[in-house]
């Protein structure tokens, strides 16, 4: 199978990540932060080393890099940990359900929210966001790049706006971390949430919440942290406050190997190669009768392309491509808001998302398959 579903999770993983994941249960088999024997201490040191890598990559302090199960877990911790006392929040029209659902759930319990439409033109998007700010607005919670279309939001400008207005900025970095250079400081992000298993090339079961420490995050889960055990109150310091229970050591160590891989290759080089594959795909199918590509000429995009074969439902197209040996995701991509915004509620879309491991030859084969399916062959 030729895999083009990297926006869901990257596959394959680099050899170094697989080696790290295989070795971790043997070399780092202790429970970090729980005991004083050498295995526990060694494991704790290895886990800390990954915090340091994350801190360096995203310009934060290591203790403010909290490990989670995935990006959705990180976003729930952030959103529910911050919006505890009500207020109004702004989200975008391209949100994944990992933002939309927790915000909507909190709206049943006292907060309010507005949805800012994302336009092709960043200035227009910013005007829309600003128009939604009211005296009760406490923050903006939004994706940095759509998992459906790949459109990059003006997150730098959003961060500046929040900083200037005293609003918190919680950023969903699911599709941009490991793809674009991100700095909490330079991009004025207060809380950045990300998966470990997409652009950072770790194995599944990993994610991170990285905070600049400006806004306290109330814990939504309590338990053993290996610290202040005699106290019934959850620790008030990070990362312990938000990391109850045993962390996914194998996943974390694999995530560290993934970040090393990216550092060695260069994030810009990886993205450039993926962008080239996207351009090749678009150029190959844009003139095919019945193929529609969802890209606007003046918007900026991640290496993701949404398309449809207009005579078919997206799930049908994705199934036929799967039968032909190509892995792409059809449907709604856990983002009803985005498909509503695109006008694709009736058909969904097929998402092409290459990785560093895909080749031009593989893209050419996909183009041929799309042509055959579009021609009804």
């Amino acid at each position: 199978m030729i895999y083009f579903d990297n926006a869901a999770t990257t596959y394959p993983k680099p050899d170094s990540v697989l080696q790290a994941a295989r070795a971790a249960p043997v070399e780092y088999g202790g429970n970090p932060g729980r005991s004083g024997h050498s295995m526990s201490l060694k494991t704790a040191e290895a886990v800390y080393a990954v915090r340091e890598k994350a801190a360096k990559m995203f310009d934060a302090d290591p203790e403010n890099a909290v490990f989670t199960l995935n990006c959705t877990h990180a976003l729930n911790l952030a959103i529910k940990g911050v919006a505890v006392r009500g207020g109004h929040y702004i989200i975008s029209s391209l949100e994944h359900n990992s933002v939309a659902r927790p915000v909507h759930a909190l709206a049943q319990r006292g907060i309010s929210y507005s949805i800012a439409r994302v336009y092709e033109d960043d200035e227009r998007t910013m005007k829309e966001i600003i128009s939604l700010i009211n005296p009760y607005t406490k923050g903006i919670i939004c994706t940095m790049g759509s998992n459906v279309t790949g459109q990059i939001l003006p997150f730098g400008k959003i961060g500046e706006l929040c900083s200037a207005r005293g609003l918190i900025f919680i950023a969903d970095g699911a599709q941009v971390c490991g793809v674009l250079p991100i700095s909490l400081k330079n991009d004025c992000i207060n809380i950045l949430c990300m998966p470990g298993h997409k652009g950072l090339y770790g194995i599944s079961g990993t994610g991170m919440l990285i905070t600049d420490g400006k806004y306290p995050i109330h814990h939504i889960m309590e338990g053993g942290t290996g610290s202040t055990s005699l106290e019934l109150n959850q620790p008030d310091f990070l990362p312990d406050r938000l990391e109850s229970g045993t962390v996914n050591t194998v996943g974390i160590i694999s995530l560290g190997a993934g970040m090393d891989y990216l550092a060695a290759k260069g994030i810009d080089n990886v993205r450039s190669a993926e962008d080239t594959l996207c351009s090749r795909f678009i150029n190959g199918v844009r003139s095919v009768d019945g193929v529609k590509i969802y890209r606007q000429p003046n918007a900026k995009y991640l290496p993701i392309v949404l398309f449809n074969i207009e005579s078919k439902n997206s799930e049908e197209t994705a199934t036929e491509l799967s039968d032909a040996g190509f892995a792409l995701r059809g449907g709604y991509h856990c983002s009803g808001l985005a498909h509503r915004s695109l006008g694709t509620l009736d058909v969904g879309g097929v998402r092409f998302s290459p990785s560093a491991f895909n080749t031009a030859g593989e893209v050419d084969k996909l183009i041929s398959a799309v042509k055959r399916i579009a021609a009804g062959m």
């Binding site: 055990s229 005699l230 106290e231 620790p235």
Partner: protein, 102 residues
């Protein structure tokens, strides 16, 4: 048995034997012990001290300190240098004590 100047608050005297027996104290005679609430800060301190050129090790803080459970860093760095490294790197610690071994 090595004598410690001021006991770490809440640490029972007999538990200090574990620190006494740590090789950095028994071999080198002088060492500084920094205690932390969490292993993350202990490892942050270890990394910072090593960058500053001081051999350091993380160990479980023996006995019950206030709140229960914690980690210490034993280092060859003198107390004033340790305090400076902690402050420079914004590392929160519970206590820092100079230990003299014999």
């Amino acid at each position: 048995m090595t004598c410690f100047p001021q006991q770490i608050k809440g640490l029972m005297p007999e538990r200090m034997i574990a620190l006494n027996n740590h090789k950095m104290i028994s071999n080198k005679g002088k060492a500084t012990v920094v205690t932390f609430s969490s292993v993350t800060f202990a490892n942050k301190a270890k990394a910072a001290l090593e960058r500053a050129g001081y051999q350091s090790e993380v160990m479980r803080t023996p006995g019950a300190i206030a709140g229960g459970c914690g980690y210490s860093v034993v280092t060859g760095a003198p107390l004033d240098k340790v305090s400076a490294v902690m402050d420079k790197n914004n590392i929160h610690y519970r206590s820092v004590t100079d230990k003299s071994g014999r």
